[in-house]
C-alpha cells in the first residue's frame, strides 16, 4: 500500500491541465519509477498524485510535419529503443535509454519522467542535450516550446509552470540530418545502476569526410545539470578528422566540466574518465558517419 493522499486519474490532456491548476500541491505521476520509489522511501509520503498514465495520445514516436522527430512524453524507454524512426535517425538515443535500469524498468519509465525529474545522471539527458532537443509543454495557455538547455534550471528543478504537463520532446531535422553519435555510460555495474558519468557525442563530417563540420558533446553527472562542452566542441569544429583533433577535443573537456566527489567516484576520477569517454565517443561517431581517423 502506498502512502498516497489523493489520486486523481486524468483521462485527457485537458483534464490533466485542469487537475494541475486545481491541485497545485499535487505531483504528476507518469510511469512512477521515480515517484513511487520516493514515496516508499518516505520523501514523497502523503503526497497527492495526478496520474497521466492513461493519456495514450502522449505515447509513441513519429516524424511531424516539419520533419522533427516527435517523442510523446509518455513513450517508454523500450518503445524508444524499438522505434524504427529512432533507429533510422538517432540510434544513439535508443541505445542510451536501453542502458537504463533493467528490462522491467525500461518498460515502465518514460522519457517525460526522465527529463522532468531534472536529474543530471538520467540516461537520456546527455543525448537530448547533445542533440539540442526541444521540450514541449502544454498548459492552460496552450503549447510552449523551449530548448532543453533552458528547461533544466538546477539539480532536480525544471521549468514547468503551474498547470503544465510536458507533452513531447522534439529533435529538429537540422539537428539529426547527416549526424551520428555515440553514448558512453560509465557505471559500477553493467545493469541496474546509475551512471557515474554519462557522455554523449555526435558528429557531422564534411561531404568529403575530411573535416568535422559540427561536433556536439554533452555530459551527465559532470555538474548539477546535464551540460554541453563548448571548449571541446570548439576544439573539433572545422578541424581535420584525425587523431590529433580527437586528442585536443578530449583535453579541452577539462575546461568545461566541474564534477563532484561522491561515494560513486572522486572528482579526479570523473575528470579522468570524462576525457577518455569524450575521445572514444568521438572516434565511434566518426566511424558511424562512415569516416576514418587519419
Amino acid at each position: 500500500m502506498y502512502d498516497i493522499k489523493e489520486l486523481y486519474e486524468a483521462e485527457s490532456l485537458q483534464e490533466a491541465v485542469a487537475l494541475r491548476l486545481e491541485h497545485p500541491g499535487a505531483r504528476v505521476i507518469a510511469g512512477g519509477s521515480d515517484v513511487l520509489v520516493q514515496m516508499r522511501e518516505g520523501r514523497l509520503a502523503g503526497q497527492e498524485l495526478i496520474s497521466i498514465q492513461r493519456l495514450d495520445e502522449l505515447r509513441g514516436v513519429r516524424l511531424d510535419d516539419e520533419g522533427s522527430i516527435r517523442l510523446g512524453s509518455l513513450t517508454s524507454f523500450s518503445q524508444i529503443t524499438k522505434s524504427p524512426v529512432i533507429r533510422k535517425h538517432i540510434g544513439v538515443l535508443g541505445e542510451a535509454v536501453d542502458l537504463v535500469g533493467g528490462p522491467q524498468i525500461r518498460n515502465l519509465g518514460t522519457i517525460g519522467g526522465n527529463t522532468c525529474n531534472g536529474v543530471t545522471s538520467a540516461d537520456s539527458a546527455s543525448t537530448l542535450h547533445a542533440w539540442e532537443a526541444v521540450v514541449e509543454l502544454t498548459g492552460p495557455a496552450g503549447e510552449r516550446r523551449l530548448p532543453i538547455r533552458d528547461f533544466y534550471l538546477g539539480a532536480g528543478t525544471v521549468d514547468i509552470r503551474p498547470g503544465e504537463i510536458q507533452t513531447a520532446i522534439l529533435i529538429p531535422r537540422a539537428s539529426y540530418d547527416r549526424t551520428w553519435g555515440y553514448y558512453y555510460k560509465y557505471a559500477l555495474r553493467n545493469a541496474m545502476d546509475i551512471a557515474t558519468t554519462g557522455c554523449s557525442v555526435n558528429a557531422r563530417l564534411s561531404p568529403d569526410g575530411k573535416t568535422f563540420e559540427r561536433v556536439r558533446l554533452a555530459y551527465g553527472v559532470a555538474g548539477p545539470v546535464p551540460r554541453r562542452a563548448p571548449s571541446a566542441e570548439a576544439a573539433a569544429n572545422g578541424r581535420p578528422v584525425d587523431r590529433a583533433t580527437v586528442e585536443a577535443f578530449g583535453l579541452a573537456v577539462l575546461d568545461d566540466i566541474d564534477p563532484r566527489d561522491s561515494w560513486r567516484a572522486s572528482r579526479d576520477f570523473r575528470r579522468h574518465i570524462a576525457v577518455e569517454m569524450a575521445k572514444r565517443c568521438l572516434a565511434e561517431s566518426v566511424r558511424r558517419c562512415g569516416g576514418e581517423l587519419s
Binding site: E6, G101, Q104, I105, N107
Partner: protein
C-alpha cells in the same frame, strides 16, 4: 482520500475479472491479497529485484512499482497461468527443474515471467543478449548460470533447434 475504493476491470490469467480495489494499492498488493496469487513476491518493493515481475499486455513490469488501478482494461499474467489445467508443468518450468535453476525459489516466478516474454518473442538470442534480458532480476542462491541455461534450453526447444551441448 476521496473515492478510495475504485472499480478495476481487467483480464487476469485469461479470465475477465472486476474488483473494487483500494486506490493506494500496488499491483503486487492486489494480486497477492485480493487474488491470492502468491507467486508474486514482495522482495525490495522499489523496483530493484524483479521478484514481483508480471506480464502486462505482454511486457514485463515490476508490479511493486505499478498502481493496481492502472491495469484497467489490460491483460495481466502471473506465474499461475503457466501450468496446464491439471497442474502439468510448462516446458519453461520443466527446464528450470532440469537445469537446477531453482534453489530457495523466491526469485523464480519473476525470472520465469521475463522468460515468457523472451520465449514469446519467437526470436533466438545469444547468451549475452539473454543475460541482458534477464538482468532485471536478483537471485541470491543460484549464481545465475543455471537460470541462463534453463531459459536458453526452453528457447531452443521452442525454436525446435537442437540445444547446444552443455559445457
Amino acid at each position: 482520500m476521496k473515492d478510495q475504493f475504485r472499480m478495476v476491470e481487467f483480464n487476469l490469467n485469461g479470465r475477465d475479472v472486476a474488483h473494487v480495489v483500494d486506490a493506494r494499492s500496488s499491483l503486487t498488493d492486489m494480486l497477492r491479497n485480493d487474488y491470492r496469487l502468491t507467486s508474486v513476491k514482495k522482495g525490495c518493493e522499489v523496483g530493484e529485484c524483479g521478484a514481483c515481475n508480471v506480464l502486462i499486455d505482454g511486457e514485463c513490469f515490476n508490479s511493486c512499482l505499478y498502481l493496481a488501478v492502472w491495469v484497467r482494461g489490460k491483460k495481466v499474467r502471473t506465474l499461475e497461468s503457466l501450468a496446464g489445467p491439471g497442474g502439468e508443468l510448462s516446458d519453461l518450468q520443466q527446464a528450470f527443474i532440469d537445469e537446477t535453476a531453482i534453489q530457495c525459489g523466491f526469485c523464480t516466478p519473476g525470472f520465469m515471467m521475463t522468460a515468457v516474454e523472451i520465449l514469446e518473442s519467437g526470436r533466438e538470442y545469444s547468451d549475452d543478449e539473454l543475460r541482458k534480458l534477464l538482468s532485471g532480476h536478483l537471485c541470491r542462491c543460484t549464481g545465475y548460470e543455471n537460470i541462463l541455461r534453463a531459459v536458453r534450453k526452453a528457447m531452443h526447444r521452442r525454436l525446435e533447434g537442437p540445444a547446444p551441448a552443455r559445457p
